[in-house]
Amino acid sequence: MSPVTDAVAQSAQLGWVLGVMTVAFLTSFVGWTLWAWWPSNRERLDAAALLPLEESP
């Protein structure tokens, strides 16, 4: 292949990698957000927020 077509092929492969990474990272971000705001986690996380305020024994 010529250097130009070689570069295009590499760029296309890189595009796939970047696309898959974008989907994976976005999914994990949405996952963390859903987990943090999931109603069943509310009580546990609200209690966790009070940890620094517990008196030092």
Partner: protein, 471 residues
């Protein structure tokens, strides 16, 4: 939560006291060297004509002292203090705590000797020569072992968000330090990096930017999430937001390093990746800033009387300003003006003096009375410190912003014939000189504030038992 009862002496506060003492002492040294450098830039004879006292050798001493000695010791003090209380357990190993403390001080002393002697790797913020780098790796792993050992023996199941921020520092700094310092030693004081050319530059700025991210930002944010609720006596505004803040911040930060290499030989796409991730960083950064400021909801009136809250609010505000400015400066068109100018110096000092410094002072004023079991010697002196520090930073930063923009505009100015309007570099230097004196004044005020704090904390620690917190 799932806490077991525990008596006070079971916490290792001796280590916290040591790290606080080291923070104050190295803070004075680091800021003093900074003031000397400011004087040298305003008045060249202050270089004294000696190699050991020249700007080029003292500058890395200043940056290393402030980043690794002042901030490093402060981080360790805050982490040792807060993690024991959040996990309701003593540090895993007193021996490792001691080795960590004395090992870290030995590294700082070695840096203070080798840098003025001109022994350097020539990598910004990673100047120390390879034997010291090995010592840093060992001491850091000692800290890491103690940190994770303490988590393993914890008596509280939930890892509060502050601990996640600390963890990100422990893990990421290990990777950054080892990868960036891979080198082949030639002699005891000289080595050659395993990378070359653009690869070396990219690795260096992947390290440099994330040293800022994971030593000066994430751990301080973690400390904010512990010490701010303690000082304000109310929980963080949104614990859920703090979780998203953490994951978004650590994910985005690690990719932003290439913004230090805009318009360089680095491939264009990599520069763009750095720029885009820097811009995206604005979201979690401001999420964290708002989470901090909104934690004070209903407690704003206490700002009138409580210097600790004053320091926190100023620190978080500077964090917001710096994390807006940073992404803007990573945009190519803005960077074309700001790069290599004093604008960068303004940016880094708004972050270091404003965000990091004022957060550290807030922590010290909170922790010192607790670990020495004495009431703070003087609230009014702490308030004086706050105003000295804040006005000092404003003078410093405004002077350097003005100098930087002036410098950038002069460098790119053309006359009617299309020639450089200021072809002689000295033209800009002479124009900037008055701003350098203002910078020195601001720096001296900041240094003066730290000396006031040192006196205040010394009097606190040495006062008699009639001044005890639980008298």
């Amino acid at each position: 939560m799932e806490a077991a009862p525990l008596s006070a002496p079971r916490y290792d506060d001796a280590s916290v006291r040591r790290f606080i003492t080291a923070t104050v002492l190295w803070g004075i040294v680091g800021m003093l060297v900074g003031a000397i450098l400011a004087l040298q830039l305003a008045w060249a004879p202050a270089n004294l004509g000696l190699p050991w006292t020249s700007f080029g050798r003292l500058r890395p001493l200043h940056t290393n002292a402030v980043i690794f000695a002042f901030t490093g010791n402060a981080l360790f003090a805050g982490i040792y203090y807060s993690m024991q209380r959040l996990l309701k357990t003593r540090m895993w190993s007193d021996t490792l705590s001691s080795v960590h403390f004395w090992g870290w001080q030995a590294i700082i002393v070695l840096a203070a000797v080798t840098l003025p002697l001109g022994m350097t790797q020539g990598k910004e913020y990673a100047e120390l020569i390879w034997p010291i780098d090995l010592l840093i790796a060992v001491v850091w792993l000692v800290f890491a072992a103690n940190f994770f050992g303490t988590i393993a023996i914890r008596k509280v199941k939930h890892l509060y968000v502050a601990l996640w921020f600390y963890m990100s520092m422990v893990i990421t700094i290990t990777v950054l330090h080892v990868v960036n310092n891979l080198a082949l030693p030639a002699t005891l004081t000289r080595s050659y990096p395993v990378y070359s050319g653009m690869t070396d530059a990219l690795v260096q700025w992947w390290y440099g930017h994330n040293a800022v991210g994971f030593l000066l930002t994430t751990p301080i944010l973690g400390l904010m999430y512990y010490f701010l609720p303690r000082a304000a006596q109310r929980p963080v505004f949104s614990y859920r937001l703090s979780i998203i803040h953490f994951w978004a911040l650590v994910f985005l930060y690690i990719w932003a390093g290439p913004h230090h290499l805009l318009y360089s030989a680095l491939p264009d796409w990599a520069q763009t990746v750095g720029m885009v991730f820097s811009l995206m960083l604005l979201a979690p950064s401001w999420g964290g800033m708002l989470n901090g400021l909104l934690t004070l909801r209903g407690a704003w009136d206490r700002l009138r009387t409580d210097p600790i809250l004053k320091f926190w609010v100023a620190a978080i505000t500077f964090y917001g300003m710096s994390t807006f400015e940073g992404p803007m400066m990573s945009i190519r068109a803005v960077n074309a003006l700001s790069h290599f100018t004093d604008w960068t110096i303004a940016h880094v000092h708004a972050g270091a003096l404003g965000w990091v410094g004022e957060s550290v002072f807030a922590m010290l004023y909170y922790m010192a009375p607790q670990v020495w079991n004495r009431k703070l010697h003087s609230v009014s002196l702490a308030t004086t410190h706050f105003w000295l520090a804040t006005v000092g930073i404003v003078l410093y930063v405004v002077a350097m912003w003005t100098a930087g923009v002036t410098q950038g505009l002069m460098w790119r100015a053309f006359d009617e014939a299309g020639l450089l309007q200021y072809p002689n570099f000295v033209d800009t230097v002479r124009t900037l000189n008055p701003f350098y004196w203002i910078r020195l004044l601001g720096g001296l005020m900041y240094l003066g504030g730290i000396i006031v704090m040192a006196w205040n904390l010394y009097k606190t620690a040495t006062s008699d038992s009639s001044n005890a917190l639980e008298a």
